[in-house]
Each structure stands twice: as C-alpha cells, then as structure tokens.
C-alpha cells in the first residue's frame, strides 16, 4: 500500500470500531481514543503504558451491587480498532491470553479481546529494545492486519478474516502482486533492523540461572535499592496483577460497585493475609517474585518467558533495576558498577 493512503484507510476502519492508537496527551505518548487520524504517532517512541490497558483496564467496575446482589458491569467494553501495535506488544497480548483466557475465562478481558481489532505496525528498535533476545521482534499471529513500513510502501500482512474484510473496505489501496523486488526490500529491511539492536542478552539460560541464584546476595543488593514504587509492574506489558475493592455509594441503601484495578507485587500488602501474616514482607522476596515470574516461571508454565523485550522497565525504573541489570548481575554474580 502506498503511504499516502494510510490515513484514509485508517479513517475507513471506523466502521469496525472506535479507533485507538498512540497519541500524545500532555506530552506523554498514550494508547488512547484517536480524535483525528493525523494525531496517531507511529515510527517513533513507544507509549509508556502498554497496550494491555485497553484489554485489562487500569480501573473498571466488575459489578454493580444493591440489595438484590451483584450485576456484572460490562460498560467498559467497546468495539475498538487499535492501530500501531508493535510486534512485542502483540506478543504480550498472547502472553496475557495464557492467563486470562485459560479456563475459567476472565469475561472482561475476553470481551475486550473479542471486540478489538489489532492493526500491528512495524518498528525499529530503540536504545533499550531487546526483543530480538526474547524472540518477540517479529510476529506471526495475534493481529488482524500488520503494516510493515518499508519507506516507499507498506507491506501489509493480513492475519485474520476480519483483517481481510478491512482490506476489502478499500481494496483499491492495496496491490496484491508482491514482486520479487518487494520481497528483497523486505528482507533487506529485516537485516538492517536486526543490526540496529544495541542491547541483548541470553534469555535461554535465565530460568536455570534464576533457579540457581535463589539464595544469592545479589537480591539483597537490589532490595536495598528498590523504591517499591511499583512502576515496573504498571509499565510491563505482561504484568496482569490486579486487586479488587468494593465502593459503596453515600446512601443508606447498600448500593455500590466492585472495582478492579492494577496492583503490583512490589507493594508491601501484596501477599499480606487477614490476620497480619505477610508472606513477602521483605523487599528482596517481592523483587525475586517479579523477576522469577518474568524470566523463569512463565517459561516453565507456557514455554516462553513473560518478558517481551520492550525495554519499558529499563526506561522507567528510577534506580536502574530492570530485566537487563538483574539478568546481568545474576549471570556475572556481581552487582552493577555505580
């Protein structure tokens, strides 16, 4: 497809749902409802909060309750077309599927998934990206359409029957004949892209290293630094933890809502049980859980690590605790130089 058609094509997708994509709000790039198609920012930085927020919202009402009991509240579910999702984040959704779509299915997540179309978009690695190491730099499933920006033209992969319907919407914009030259352009682009990665590490050995360094003093070093601010969990595309609370209306009637919002295993009350026993009172134990989960546990369970190499923890942690520094410290068995 010619780049000049891109915006018009996206505009035509409104028929399939509200358009969402990376747009700048108050100086920060966010996945948000798109007011006009030309405000979508592609080809640059990644939104700080990942696309998971459109499927596993930061905060929403699970139920409304009154004297007759609980009624599910699905008002947060909306038909969406999400534009500009990079490969790593498409992988992150597939990881979240493993948790939320497993029986019993989380109906809130499932309904968001069912009602959302994903228009993937190619990216070039930023300074902190290491998706090549996590095997999430390319994507073969999990999208309806995927645009690869080859400069002169977009190579468009169709990933679903819905994606096909979308193409049919503006059939004249697309050229079905992929020439040999096009393929060469694409391969060249892939090779150039592969060379752009600045950081990498060996993920394959991480489960073993994690297992063997359970008692390592490295954890105490990181625990000493960790601010327990929870930002790593909020920005991580595969963190799925949430908590639930009941909020009553100011009224004599027992009416209100059951709210669900993002939580983090970095917070002190995360493993606190009624009666006061805290299974993870120590900061080191909380950090260990997070990294074990990202680099080992998920792999044990689902065959792939929960880290998708997006580099958000690298960009976000104010005290440089992230997948790269922790993996390096555990691998070398030495703490990072100050």
């Amino acid at each position: 497809m010619q780049p000049k058609f891109f915006q018009e094509f996206i505009e035509s997708l409104k028929r399939f749902g509200t358009i969402y994509g990376p747009v700048r709000r108050n100086g920060v790039l966010k996945y948000d409802r798109v007011e006009s198609v030309d405000e979508i920012e592609l080809d640059g930085e990644r939104p700080m909060i990942p696309v998971k927020k459109l499927f596993h919202p930061m905060k929403f009402n699970m139920f409304q309750f009154d004297k007759d009991g609980f009624t599910p509240d699905y008002s947060s579910i909306e038909k969406k077309v999400i534009v500009g999702v990079p490969p790593c984040e498409i992988h992150s959704l597939l990881r979240l599927d493993e948790v939320f779509m497993e029986q019993p299915v989380d109906p809130y997540y499932a309904k968001q998934r069912e009602n959302s179309a994903i228009i993937g978009y190619s990216c070039l690695p930023g300074d902190d990206c290491f998706c090549k190491s996590t095997g999430t730099d390319i994507v073969e499933e999990g999208f309806d359409l995927f645009f690869v920006n080859l400069g002169e033209f977009y190579l468009v992969w169709v990933g679903s029957s819905l994606g096909h319907d979308m193409v049919l919407e503006r059939e004249d914009y697309f050229d079905e004949n992929v020439t040999h030259e096009d393929i060469e352009d694409y391969i060249e682009w892939r090779q150039a892209r592969d060379k752009m990665f600045k950081v990498s590490f060996d993920f394959k050995s991480m489960p073993d290293i994690m297992e063997l360094s359970y008692g390592s003093p490295i954890w105490d070093y990181f625990a000493g630094k960790c601010l327990s601010c929870g930002q790593c969990s909020m920005v991580c595309p595969t963190c799925n933890c949430y908590t639930v609370t009941d909020v009553l209306d100011v009224s004599s009637e027992p009416e209100g809502r059951r709210e669900r919002f993002w939580d983090s295993c970095m917070f002190v009350d995360y493993s606190l049980v009624a009666g006061g026993h805290n299974f993870r009172g120590a900061r080191a134990d909380r950090l260990k859980l997070w990294y074990t989960h990202k680099m080992k546990a998920f792999a044990n369970e689902y065959g792939k690590p929960a880290c998708i190499g997006c580099g958000r923890c690298v960009r976000t942690c104010p005290v440089d605790i992230n997948v790269l520094t922790v993996a390096e410290a555990l691998t070398k068995m030495e703490v990072p130089a100050q």
């Binding site: 008002s75 909306e78 038909k79 497993e102 359970y214 949430y242 908590t243 009941d246 027992p254 493993s271």
Partner: protein, 283 residues
C-alpha cells in the same frame, strides 16, 4: 458502542447464599452453615475436601474460606471462621437467615485417589482443623474406601479446641483413632498435654508406603510434623498439606497468590511435601 452479553459465564459472579445457621465455636471463631438461595444450585453444588469458596458481603469485599463440611453430605456448606479481617468482622454481624454471597468451589482439594485404600493420618493444629474436618468426615462417610484413620489434633487449651463436643463423640467410634492434645491443660482435661508431635509416639506401627498424611495448622507446625512423618518414612509426595495465601480472585487471574509459576488458588491450596521442596516459598 457498548457491547453487552447477558448470557455469559462470569466466574467472578457472587451468588446469593443464605446463612442457615451460625453459632460461636470458641471466642472469635464461628461456625456457619450456608446454602445457595437457588435450590438447584444448592443441590448440584459439589466439591472436594480441601477446596475453598469466596464469600462476599457487598460493600465490604470478598475473601477465601476453607470448606469444613464434606461433599458426602450435600446441600449445606459448613465453614469455621475466625474473626481476623474486614470481611470476617462484617460476617460476624450476620445472623441466621441473612444473605451473603458466595462463589466456588476453588482450588485442587486433597488427592483422594492417592489416598484410597490406604491408611490416613490427619494432623491438625489449632484453626487448621477447619479444612481437615472436611476430609475427616469424608473418610468416615466412605469408610470402606479407606484403611485405618488416625486423627491427631492439638490446640492451645481445652477452651480453644474447635468442635470439641463433636470430636470427643468421635472417640466413641471404633473405626477411627482420635488423639488430642493441648499445650496447657485444665483440671478436667483427660487427654494429652504438649505439642501435637508428641502424639506420634502413640501411633501403632504403620506401613509408610500404604499411608498418607494430611496436615494443616499454623506455619510453625509444619516443619515439626513433617519431621515426624519423615521419621515414619512416609514418601514426600504422600504428605499433603493445605496452605494459606492472599487470594483475591480464586481463579488464577489476579496474581496475588502466585508462587514461582504456580497459583495457590488453582494449583493449591493443597500441596505435597515434595511440592514445598520444589517451590521454595511455599512454607
């Protein structure tokens, strides 16, 4: 464009349940008999010993509670609840016929298949007897499916012994060996005095490979009870225990009870001793 489908199966949906009867067990511990209001649901509701349910009070919240009754006596669900948090505080203000909300059952429950036709040692400490009461009656109700049954229960004082009358009545039966102990006795106490591990000396000879143990009690208890069971040479995977963790959803979504790659709420709360060696944070 809001999409709403009423015909869904929402696993978080709390359903109305009636408190059929409730009474105090000991101070701050109360016994609840609960039944789903929807009779069809009440009658079809079944579970494994060792499983738990999530109880809700609208506006207060939701929390997990072990089931203390046996599925062999269907219709009514029993729970022993200690006043210890916000939800239990509110639960203790409820009276007979009040409505609460319930969903479940959750968790794996005890591995009954592994236990069938074998001898069983139940070891309970304090409040830990609540989930074990479920398997205790399950075995008694299906007596022909199991071998010998030993029930070891330790409480701090005779007053703090839960289900005391009931459990002393069990002593009359010949198909179960009941051994009770308290840390601190009163004058009328005729049973043992001391920690629960002391009771192991009273057990007859057992065949470790033909025996299963189930444990529940305060965190400190596990280590010492396991030592005793290992002395008896029970295989590590024939020692089952039920563990506590913070659970919010009960269905492996919210993450709070995560341990390594498992969720206590779906992979537990019953684990074998071997599991605890494997997943270091379990106990």
């Amino acid at each position: 464009m809001t999409v709403c489908n009423h015909e869904d199966n929402n696993p978080f949906q709390p359903e109305a349940a009636r408190i059929v009867r409730q009474h105090d067990l000991i101070k701050d511990h109360r016994f609840f008999q609960v039944r789903f209001v929807d009779m069809k649901r009440a009658m079809s509701f079944t579970y494994n010993p060792g499983q738990f349910v999530m109880l809700s009070i609208p506006g207060v919240g939701e929390a997990p509670f072990s089931i203390s009754s046996t599925p062999s006596r269907p219709g009514i669900l029993e729970m022993g609840i200690r006043r210890t948090g916000k939800l239990t505080e509110a639960l203790f203000t409820k009276r007979d016929n009040d409505i609460i909300y319930m969903r479940g059952p959750y968790g794996n429950g005890f591995n009954l298949d592994q236990m069938r036709n074998k001898d069983i040692i139940i070891v309970a400490g304090g409040l830990g007897v609540i989930p074990l009461r479920s398997i205790l009656y399950y075995v008694l109700d299906n007596r022909d499916q199991f071998g010998r049954l030993f029930f070891l229960y330790g409480a701090r004082t005779p007053e703090e012994m839960l289900f005391r009358t009931e459990f002393f009545e069990l002593k009359e039966r010949h198909d179960i060996e009941c051994l009770y102990t308290v840390d601190k006795a009163t004058s009328e106490w005729s049973e043992d005095v001391g920690v629960v591990t002391k009771l192991f000396a009273k057990l007859p000879e057992i065949d470790p490979h033909q025996t299963n143990a189930v444990i529940c009690g305060p965190p400190v208890m596990y280590k010492y009870v396991i030592q005793e069971l290992l002395k008896l040479e029970l295989p590590k995977n024939q020692i089952q225990m039920t563990l506590e963790r913070r659970m919010k959803c009960g269905v492996g979504k919210c993450g709070h009870c995560a341990l390594d790659h498992i969720y206590t709420c779906i992979d537990g709360p019953v684990f074998t001793y071997w599991d605890t060696l494997h997943f270091r944070e379990l106990i």
